[in-house]
Amino acid sequence: MDITSTNTSWTNICAANDLTPDAGICALFNEQQVAIFLCQQNNSVYAVANFDPFGGANVLSRGIIGSTQDITYVASPLYKQRFNLVTGECLDSDEHQLKTFNVRIENEQVQLKEAS
């Protein structure tokens, strides 16, 4: 696989209307599981790793989106740890941090790119 190209170019994942508003889905991208969230209220898309490092399972796309002050986060469906959707930081522990991905909606397509 050409690493440089995947790092610098956008990959089409699915149609924009495959996303459910205010909820997440899971995508397979570069052999990684990526959780993608569409938050309608602030009109943003987020992408972080799907693996919950606390529960040890691929479940974060099935968590609930929430906010505290200005931070938008996802709460794990297993043990409820909250992860900042922009930075991947865990709000409840500095033990673990999630990998984040670049994500956008272009021409009605959801696209992912490795964060630089």
Partner: protein, 841 residues
């Protein structure tokens, strides 16, 4: 220097209190050993009679081995101390064990006095003191039709209550002319007797038993001095207590003329380094047969051993308030006319059966004593007046007269109390202590109990403690926050009202109406539940998807590896062989771990997201519906077969259970709700342990409410008896909807009921008498829910659009490669991951 060694003989309530006090909070400078001749560590003897209403020995325990071990306390059970050697400072036990002490504390308690009546030592003749006694009484009760308690004092009446609970015909035989001769006057005793007799307990006063011989119609016959007799199958002696001073007596410690180990104000006995506390101790020629004075002695002795000679025991208040056989009784101060010149006010209402007598000093300014029977609301105020020696109001009769409409009760109000006023005498908590606790941040009774222990002993002071708490909170200008989370400045109940009144149908509409931010994992599911319980819409509508916990969202319970469980509804636990075969075939095809649950269902574990629709298609085709095991909603209705098969069944419990389960299935609520339906009073369905419990009797259904299992098991309270099928359905409709409307998020029915001001009586008033005038509304809302029911799985598998969400990857058919299983006992389990989750809360 090595630690001082303290030996505590006796591990009853007072002995334990001493140990708890002496070890204190900091690193203990003492080595403590305690001996008990009983087989259990300390338990709550005050609450002993609850043993008959279902509490177990564990419920009554005041401590456990783990607590003692953690605190370095050695304990020896089943071994009685039989000899004290003061010269060498040793104690010697029945088994020959010898232990040395620096300080010795005797907390040997008391033993029940059994009058020397010929025939008093036969089988089925008992005393009422220990859990072992109660177990023996229960056994005798199984083979008895009639039972007699000898002794009409406080404990005798509790023993009488025990007999009533065992279902035997109950008699109380008292030597004195009235019941509770020590605490009550003639008027109070007479009313108590009348009330108890109305409950079917027969009271015989002024009877002296001369012998117990073989009976003609029953096992025994008791002959009385006046020539009459009474036949009975079992007897409980409850004729008072005697101090357990035998060990002290044999060892040469000074004993009072009529028994009891003589102590001074520091609880020291006549022998150096030996203390006596509790019911075995004689202070100023008086034995204190209540626990509160015993606790005070324990504190005094502990203080003295710590080197504090300031703290002394100077007598104790013997006032009592309790419920005996359902009758409220209270006694304060001196009530037998021994105070020169005392005068009294008496209020006697024969219709409502209330008796109150207030005894005041000769000049009418101070209180001497009071007797209350049938209505003890004035107890808190009167006790404080007495304990603090406060000046009475100008017209003292208002203290016992019923308040006439609209006026505030004629109490003094808690604000009038001095800070030194003792609120909780079990744990010696003063009004000042409560004020300090509130100043330190206590805002609720729960927090107050945790920080001061107030109201956690006999509970008699809880109403007063709550008043002091509320008044303190109010005076500090506190407003108790009940906001659900940072996004809504409202409680769940307030949000419920907003949603109902403004007919709000979506979370985002609610957020723009009265919230801020994006919401969170706390408010979203709560609002989802309220929306579902009002409009009963399909939970997977787009607008609701983001609100649900994953369990509701994928209509299954997420397991630790991210797979789901599948639980088809099996109403009442009744399933055809064909149905069972389909479940088995599905489980086999998808290789699901299979287990029968405690709620009479079959749980299938390990289904992956993409498998769920195919699994449910097969189940729905076979006639199954979703079991809502994933939702905060109706779970199971557990039932026995009732009179369809069972020889003892009184009603068709299984048929009724199936009706109920179908009526309420799918209904979303603040927490899960379970039912139990038993076809007779044998109660095989364990209905009293459920939120709603139904028990069939000859007269109809008995409805229990507020039971649960789990972390804090609780039996339901009896809400109403002898109901028809229709009455029962109506009451359940109303209670269920009232709970949904007003409970807090994740509050089970038991906690909701306990927090309901006025408790079960208030609930009865709302549901049966329609005191809030909301029953029509509650019923209409319930009807609406029932009409709008849909099986969520059926709706889901019929919608290709919804099914898109049921796959692991949106852009690939691959499965989750993170899953791994191992086979144990022929079935599949998730492989444990090498991930530590122990650091989590």
């Amino acid at each position: 220097m090595s630690k001082q060694r303290i030996i505590v003989v006796g591990n009853g309530m007072v002995g334990h209190k001493f140990i708890d006090t002496i070890i204190g909070n900091e690193q203990s400078e003492f080595e403590v050993i305690t001996f008990s001749e009983e087989s259990r560590l300390a338990y709550d003897r005050v609450q002993l009679s609850y043993f008959f209403s279902g509490k177990t020995a564990d419920d009554l325990a005041l401590t456990d081995a783990a607590y003692y071990q953690e605190n370095g306390i050695k304990f020896v059970l089943n071994d009685k101390v039989v000899e004290l050697d003061f010269e060498n400072k040793n104690v010697i036990t029945a088994s020959g064990r010898i232990e040395s002490y620096d300080k010795l504390v005797l907390a040997t308690g008391s033993f029940p006095f059994v009058p020397p009546i010929p025939g008093n030592d036969q089988e089925h003749c008992h005393v009422y003191r220990t859990i072992d006694d109660l177990e023996d009484i229960t056994k005798s009760g199984d083979s008895s039709k009639t039972g007699v308690v000898i002794g009409g004092g406080l404990l005798g009446l509790e023993a009488g209550n025990a007999l009533v609970n065992l279902g035997v015909e109950t008699h109380i035989v008292e030597f004195a002319p009235r019941l509770m001769a020590v605490q009550l006057d003639d008027g109070g005793g007479a009313l108590l007797k009348r009330k108890i007799e109305e409950l079917g307990v027969q009271v015989h006063t002024e009877k002296a038993t001369t012998e117990i011989v073989a009976g003609e119609t029953s096992r025994y016959r008791m002959n009385f001095a006046d020539g009459t007799f009474l036949e009975t199958d079992m007897i409980i002696f409850s004729a008072g207590i005697r101090p357990q001073d035998e060990l002290a007596r044999l060892s040469g410690i000074p004993i009072g003329e009529r028994g009891g180990i003589v102590i001074n104000n520091h609880c020291q006995t006549g022998v150096d380094d030996v203390y006596a506390i509790g019911e075995c101790a004689l202070w100023d020629n008086f034995i204190f047969g209540l626990v509160a004075p015993g606790y005070q002695m324990a504190k005094v002795a502990a203080a003295h051993i710590h080197g504090d000679a300031e703290t002394t025991f100077t007598g104790a208040d013997m006032s009592t308030k309790l419920k005996l056989l359902g009758v409220d009784v209270a006694s304060i101060g001196e009530v037998h006319g021994q105070t020169p010149g005392a005068q009294s006010y008496t209020y006697h209402d024969e219709i409502e059966q209330v008796y109150k007598r207030l005894i005041v000093s000769a000049d009418g300014t101070k209180m001497v004593g009071a007797v209350l029977v049938g209505d003890v609301d004035a107890y808190g105020t009167l006790l404080q007046l007495k304990l603090n020696d406060m000046k009475l109001p100008a017209n003292p009769s208002v203290l016992i007269l019923p308040s006439s409409g609209g006026e505030e009760a004629a109490g003094m109000g808690v604000d009038a109390l001095p800070d030194t006023a003792a609120i909780c005498s079990c744990f010696d908590v003063s009004k000042g202590d409560i004020k300090n606790a509130v100043a330190a941040g206590c805002c609720s009774m729960g927090e107050l109990k945790a920080s001061t222990k107030a109201a956690t002993g006999c509970g008699g002071c809880s109403a007063l403690a709550k008043q002091v708490l509320d008044s303190e909170l109010a005076s500090l200008g506190f407003e108790v926050k009940k906001d659900i989370c940072e996004h809504f400045a409202y409680s769940r109940q307030e949000l419920t009202d907003i949603i109902r009144v403004k007919k709000i149908k979506t979370f985002s509409a609610l957020l723009s109406e009265c919230g801020s931010g994006l919401g969170c994992e706390i408010c979203k599911p709560a609002v989802g539940s309220i929306l579902a319980s009002y409009w009963n819409a399909y939970v997977l509508e787009d607008a609701h998807v983001g609100l649900q916990d994953t369990n509701d969202n994928y209509l299954g319970n997420m397991q630790k590896d991210g797979t789901y469980s599948v639980v088809p509804r099996i109403p009442g636990g009744e399933v055809t062989p064909d149905g069972l075969i389909v479940i088995g075939q599905v489980a086999k095809e998808f290789n699901l771990y299979t287990k029968i649950t405690g709620g009479a269902r079959v749980d299938l574990f390990g289904a992956q997201l993409h498998e769920l629709p195919a699994i449910w298609k097969k189940l729905v085709d076979a006639g199954f519906e979703t079991g809502h095991a994933y939702g905060k909603s109706l779970r199971t209705v557990k039932a026995c077969v009732g009179n369809t098969w069972c020889r003892y069944g009184v009603k068709n419990s299984i048929g009724f259970a199936i009706d109920l389960e179908n009526r309420y299935k799918g209904l979303r609520s603040p927490h899960k709700v379970k039912f139990g339906v038993s076809g007779c009073t044998r109660e095989c369905a364990e209905a009293q342990g459920k939120d709603f419990g139904l028990i069939a009797t000859d007269g109809g259904w008995n409805l229990y409410f507020g039971g649960n299992g789990g972390m804090r098991p609780r039996h339901g309270d009896l809400f109403a008896s002898d109901l028809t099928d229709q009455q029962l359905r109506t009451y359940v409709d109303r209670i269920y909807m009232f709970y949904i409307r007003t409970a807090d998020r994740l509050q089970r029915t038991s906690v909701w009921l306990e927090n309901l001001e006025g408790g079960i009586e208030y609930l009865r008033d709302v549901i049966i008498n329609d005191s809030l005038n909301i029953n029509a509304e509650l019923e209409a809302e319930m009807e609406n829910n029932i009409e709008n029911y849909q099986c969520e799985w059926k709706t889901t598998i019929e919608s290709p659009e919804k099914l898109k969400r049921f796959k692991h990857f949106i852009n690939s058919k691959e499965e989750d490669t993170g899953l791994a299983f191992k086979v144990i006992r022929g079935q599949r389990f998730p492989l444990a991951k090498e991930i530590e989750i122990t650091e989590l809360v």
